[in-house]
Symmetry: D2
Subunit: 403 residues, 4 copies
């Protein structure tokens, strides 16, 4: 259990912190202004992101998330503290570094399971941020946390696969730069439950693909990063070589995609929590009610202390999980990967809630980032399966230890 | 402690429930469509509301909230269960019955403290829903829960008052039908703390009034009822007769306005909770995960049972408060009025959170009312002073009992 | 929903409050001294209780709990506020008034289901507090919340029943004055699940009965009211006329016994909560830390306000339940009877916990009643079935409403 | 941040785990029997402890807690996982290894601040477990978490100090083997607040010392390790050389004593939590209710998963704190030392509560260790200052970061 930040990590942290101060935080009001511009192209990513990307790339702060030859080659434990830093400006920093979901997971997936052609055609431009991608798994009609429920069909027909189904909350899909969907569906509903699914690449402009509407998250359309779309696949035909891996490996690939993404999400969420705590402290020091700054009122002090106590525990657990993934692999870190999925969103939610409360009306408004951060974080209790599913699974493993 | 619904209440409940089923619930998709129409006038109330108002008025379901000769003349205890019913369709039912905040509070205020001229010019058309109104109290720069912090100035200058200040979260102010603001400000900053404030009526079209922007609530602009505006008052001059009551009575009038409004808010919130519980139960029965409906899973059952247990306790407390207000007045119901302010939003928030969770992604989306209801309810932990302020005050009274 | 205290209730409340002040509270240190006397007879009820009983009986404050001709003939709603008052001195007031569990439930049971002979032999002396009784249902080996699990056998053999089994947490059984056990067991394990059980009266001195040991509750032996015994029944023979009601009615009788007892328990628990809140307020006013009384510290104020808000809601729910039981019967009050079982212990536990915390070390000690009250209250989350069982049942009924 | 268990730690863990299995756990029923023996000397430590001590000493599992030459010379990080293991049998393992509070803290204190004579006379026999000691700080009359409140006086009179005061919850003081009290009092009430206090050694048999009574903790007298005494110091005279360190250093010494003790307490508490979780899992697997083992019921699974998630976070935080203390000292670990004080007791309490609930009546009884563990753990929310005090202090430091 050695979570110390090594020399490379510390060096990158310094560099990234400077990048945040010099480029990212100053760009936050620019982003807000660009998003508020009534003349802007709907759903397109504001141009400030591309400006930041250019600078980040120049500085070598690029593709830090991806292991192996395609990016910085960092371990999970090395990347984790960097992901936390990007969480402090969640709309800008991850895309600026080409480290934003869902592209990160898609790039990892293509790097790990894609064919040479798929890598050349899709992975390379993604690594260069020339295009964006989406991951089409969740379906409105079924409890998608149980992959055996997936209703979308991917049927072989000669040299093609035919995709039929309805997906939603396909993040990034409204972005005009989004060029491909990685679609999960069933190729063989008669196989054993976890061998029924496959994944195929569906170019966004394929006939039969309809990006129907943007779904909202507590009133936010998340247009800054391409929203969350409902997408129909109606007799969509793609060449057979668009299959990722082999038929029946969709479930396994989805599982492999989850682990590192979990670390990224959780560390960014901790960055969000740190920012919320900072905002709460600043507000509490400045705001006076009933003759005293909020900072001197016991209940607010309680919130602040609790926030710190909870963040410290949570970060250690996520770092340990990253370290376990690096040392014993996803399978050996199974319990911890579930534990951080359970522990992170609710902890961060609690802190955001208190930060909102300390800000009064400003907390729920567009004048602080808190309400939007809250909404985004709230979805993490649902995304990749609701917490309840993960708790059940974790409990069963725990129970087995004593039998 | 007799909270039984009397004959008049039961009759009105029956009538209102029928109105909900026949008119309000069927109008919900109409409202959604009108709001989504890109050609609609921004911030205007969709026309379906006026249609419902016509029907409600025809049926005598009109101004039920207001005591005395101006409306139905119901007691708080008689109106409370009706308010709960309207909470089940919170966007439509209250305005349909001309029982929506902030007009309700403003009408009560004018009925109680307005001059004959003020009643004729403003109250009558409000009672007829010909115009709408806003209540301008909260300020961005100060902790407005402490009225002594109010920074807006109302200064006498000859036959006029001159208003200078900045307000925000002025609900309904973006609505083109909104014709007047009741503005709270200080006429005498040197008076004793609770005699410094006064209220004046400021017609919306008075020079110097700028409705600057719509504030959002967790991403929602609440355009269906005129949003929540930031409003600047810059050298705004109104005739001296626009003063409500006397100089220095602003704080007292604000307090008087709060009591009944608290009952309305809380009962509507209970209606929201009941609807959320119904949606959660229906979803749990329909949705299957891991081979069983959610309804058979212990954790979901726990949510449902908790929701029922909490709603039952909460409703009784609000009804008792209404009964106390009717029998011993606002002052005698002080503890209870604070207690329901503390207990209601968090209870309803908890239930909405679980209903969201049971719905998965649909819960945070625009396809169920849950996320928007959550956001609106969340603000109640802040509005009229954060819960923490009310708890402190309640605790002090409790402590005095044992000294 | 009329929970007003009627004239009779108010009169009895006044009388009882005076009795508490004049007799019960002054007797509390006497009880403590008698319990601490090393020469006292173990498990015997200290003599101060008999003194109080004599006074209470003289004043007509006797058997208030029992409906019908045997006692005061109060309704549940009339008795409930009296039970609350007795909760303020839980070790002394209920036995002083002959209103202490488990005798109350046993007397109700005998009054309702007992034969004339059983009433004459057992009910009459119980009503006169000449003897005490115990109710033997819970078993160590099985989940007794599920009555179909009961393992104790009651087998007919000629003119006798033969009882074999092991019970524990048989409250009052160590008391030398305890003369009878009402024992639940299975007469016919082949009948349908809820017709297998029967109840018989087993005189405590019957051969084969072994009162094995006193069970503890968080370190307390509860010797002041006869403790909680483990009892073995080994070939215990009683005359057939000791059967209560008919064979196969044990489950139904147990259910009938529960309703009123639930009201009693919950109202007494509210009395406990009120006392804890009073102690917390007094302590907070007196104790100074870091230059200010605890009463001026925000977190302590939060505890006090929360306690009041929670108690108010809880009491109304229990009163409503009592009123429902009086007006529509146990069955019609099913949901509420479960709801108060769920809501009461945890609410009171929370308040006691905060009162303990405000008292520091004194709170966990024998110098305040708080720790012992906490322990006794904690068992209510388990007794009569753990909360989880009641929540599941309540949820299922709720779910049915929407199908 | 390297919390890995090093070779020495792993070796000792193996050895200690074997000792637990072979000697400690088998001794648990022996302890229970010895404590239940009516003929035993009250408050004396049962002889099974001495037997275990002999074995532990033989194996070199002795004084593991103490750094430097007096014991095993382990770092905090090396000792922490061993302390966790001893927590699994909290009544036996710590004393068996001569690693039980309050002797541990007293030995550290004497080793660090004691004179050569004090070490020879008191530390040596403590290290050999020939005698026991107590630490007399907490007072009934004042909020002792604020050391400036201490009322006990230690006054110089010629070659002696005269001690007057009243202390309580002096753990171990009823034990006949307890030969000394380390007493905190004020030598100079006029000095600056944190220089007023001093510590002196008071032999237990000094005239004027009265061990008045054993205080209880939720009904437990904790007689197995000498209970918790109320002690009067009435004109108690000790030689001036019994002063520890210099006059005015009492506060600083007390602070120094706290850090390592906090680690010990918290790690043992984690051991308690692990045992509770194991008991809960075993019970859940064995116990059947309503046709299914508890282990298959969603709510119980939720408890188990939550327990694991919470323990993992907590342990990492305590290990980090130990590592910080080893690397940057008590002062650098200030926030973490407070954080574990806040986080540990409540986390362990929550788990114990659920384990109790899963056990039904057995959980509150003497037949499982759970209730007693709960009671002991509950006091940790009060001991060394209530959590609220530590939260306030931690919040203030956090607030300073952003000013």
């Amino acid at each position: 259990m050695d979570f110390a930040y090594d020399a490379r990590t510390n060096e990158l942290r310094e560099q990234l912190l400077a990048f945040m101060d010099q480029h990212v935080h100053p760009a936050e009001p620019v982003l807000a202004a660009q998003l508020a511009d009534p003349a802007r192209e709907p759903w397109a990513v504001p141009s400030v992101v591309a400006d930041l990307q250019a600078e980040a790339r120049k500085q070598g702060l690029w593709n830090l998330f991806i292991p192996g030859e395609h990016g910085a080659g960092l371990t999970n434990l090395q990347y984790a503290p960097l992901a936390e830093i990007t969480g402090r400006s969640i709309q800008l920093a991850p895309p600026a570094l080409n480290c934003a979901a869902p592209d990160t997971g898609n790039m990892e997936l293509l790097a790990q399971f894609g064919s040479a052609e798929q890598k050349e055609r899709w992975l390379r431009p993604l690594l260069d941020a020339e295009i964006r991608s989406a991951f089409a798994m969740t379906e409105p009609e079924v409890a998608s946390s149980d992959a055996t429920n997936i209703a979308t069909r991917i049927e072989r027909d000669g040299d093609e696969y035919v995709v039929n189904g309805r997906k939603w909350y396909i993040t990034g899909a409204m972005n005009p730069d989004c060029k491909l969907f990685i679609v999960m569906g069933k190729t063989d509903p008669t196989a054993e439950p976890h061998r029924q699914q496959s994944m195929v690449i569906v170019p966004r402009d394929t006939p039969g693909v309809t990006v129907k509407r943007g779904m909202t998250v507590f009133g936010y359309d998340d247009a800054d990063h391409g929203g969350h779309a409902e997408v129909l696949f109606d007799g969509v035909r793609v060449p057979a070589e668009n299959l990722i891996g082999e038929e029946g490996t969709g479930f396994a690939i989805a599982q492999a995609r989850l682990g590192p993404g979990r670390i990224h999400h959780c560390m960014r969420a901790i960055g969000i929590a740190e920012r919320a705590l900072e905002l709460m402290c600043r507000r509490a020091s400045e705001r006076v009610a009933f003759g005293r700054p909020l900072a001197e009122q016991g209940v607010v002090q309680d919130w602040i202390a609790e926030s710190r106590v909870r963040i410290e525990q949570l970060r250690l657990l996520v770092l340990k999980t990253a370290w376990l993934m690096d040392t014993v692999g996803n399978r050996g870190a199974h319990t911890e990967i579930q534990a951080i999925k359970i522990a992170t969103p609710r902890t961060v939610e609690w802190i955001l809630d208190k930060a909102v409360q300390a800000h009064g009306a400003a907390g729920v408004s567009q004048d602080t980032p808190l309400a939007q951060l809250w909404a985004g974080n709230r979805t993490l209790r649902l995304a990749d399966g609701p917490d309840e599913v993960h708790k059940r699974s974790l409990a069963r493993r725990e129970l087995k230890r004593y039998r």
